[in-house]
Symmetry: none
Subunit: 86 residues, 5 copies
């Protein structure tokens, strides 16, 4: 019976599952950052003189949304190699 | 029979599955924080003098949304190493 | 019993799972970039003279959204070949 | 027992999983391109003389959204045949 | 024991998984085409004389959205029979 299972190969599915995790985590920031900058563009179209004020609010705040996807990117590399060191 | 199973390797899928969990948990905050700051930008475009008042509301409240993703980040490290210590 | 499992073939499912991950990661940017340029078009319809200003904001900012999908594309090739080198 | 498992056939599930990936990747561009052209139609309804200007913006920008689904289409053929060559 | 396992049949799950993929890929175009024609109807309600102009824009552009679902339909037949020929 020993030769048997030696031949059975099992694959580490962590990379694939981790990429699903990154992908899910990128949905929210993708929509959220889109909402923020769409608001900037709409606001600039209504009041062109307010553009610099609106852009400064947007640059301060889009990072708070984008960081959720970048955390997912960092966690992808942690999880795809087998999780956090114990 | 012992040689068999020694050769059969099984992978711990917890890291990958945990990252899927974090990713799902980051969708909501990503969209939610985007909605909050888009509302701030829209409000500032309409009434520029209300900017500081709107920003103070946003800073107080976006944390309540963002924290849901950060809890997911903490739980990722707990779950990827095999769950909470018993 | 040894000949048996030698014949059992197991497939590496990482490519398929990775493509699910890319697909999920493309949802957010797809909607987000759509929101940004829809705002440009709406703004141009309201104030045609503001078109160049709005377009310059959009070109600066859509990249911040699009890049989330392109990161997913890069990670697809990493994950489908078995994850990051350890 | 050796003849047995020789008859056991296991299927490569990568094509099915890859199509799930393409399908997910088509959600975002489907909604995003819809948003862009809906904005063109709304803008044309309000200012019919701006139609050509709005359409030229839309043709330039919808590709940036549509390409996310076409990348998914290319990756489908890569992933369904077993992933990128290593 | 050998006759037993000869009877063990494993099923090809690719058709089912592929249909999940097509279904997911039909979400985006379903919403996107709905947005486009809803915009046509709103525009016609506001300016009835612009109907033919709006409809001609819509007919040109809804195809770009609808085609994402039709690509999913074609890929369904490729994936459900075991993937692209290698």
């Amino acid at each position: 019976m020993s030769a048997i299972h030696l031949a059975q190969e099992s694959f580490n599915l962590n990379p694939g599952l981790s990429l699903i995790g990154y992908g899910l985590g990128a949905i929210g920031p993708g929509v959220g950052v889109g909402l923020i900058f769409a608001a900037v563009i709409n606001g600039t179209a209504r009041q062109p003189e307010a553009q610099s004020k609106l852009m400064s609010i947007a640059w301060q705040t889009f990072v708070l949304v984008e960081v959720l996807a970048l955390i997912g990117l960092v966690l992808f590399f942690i999880a795809s190699t087998g999780g956090a060191p114990e």
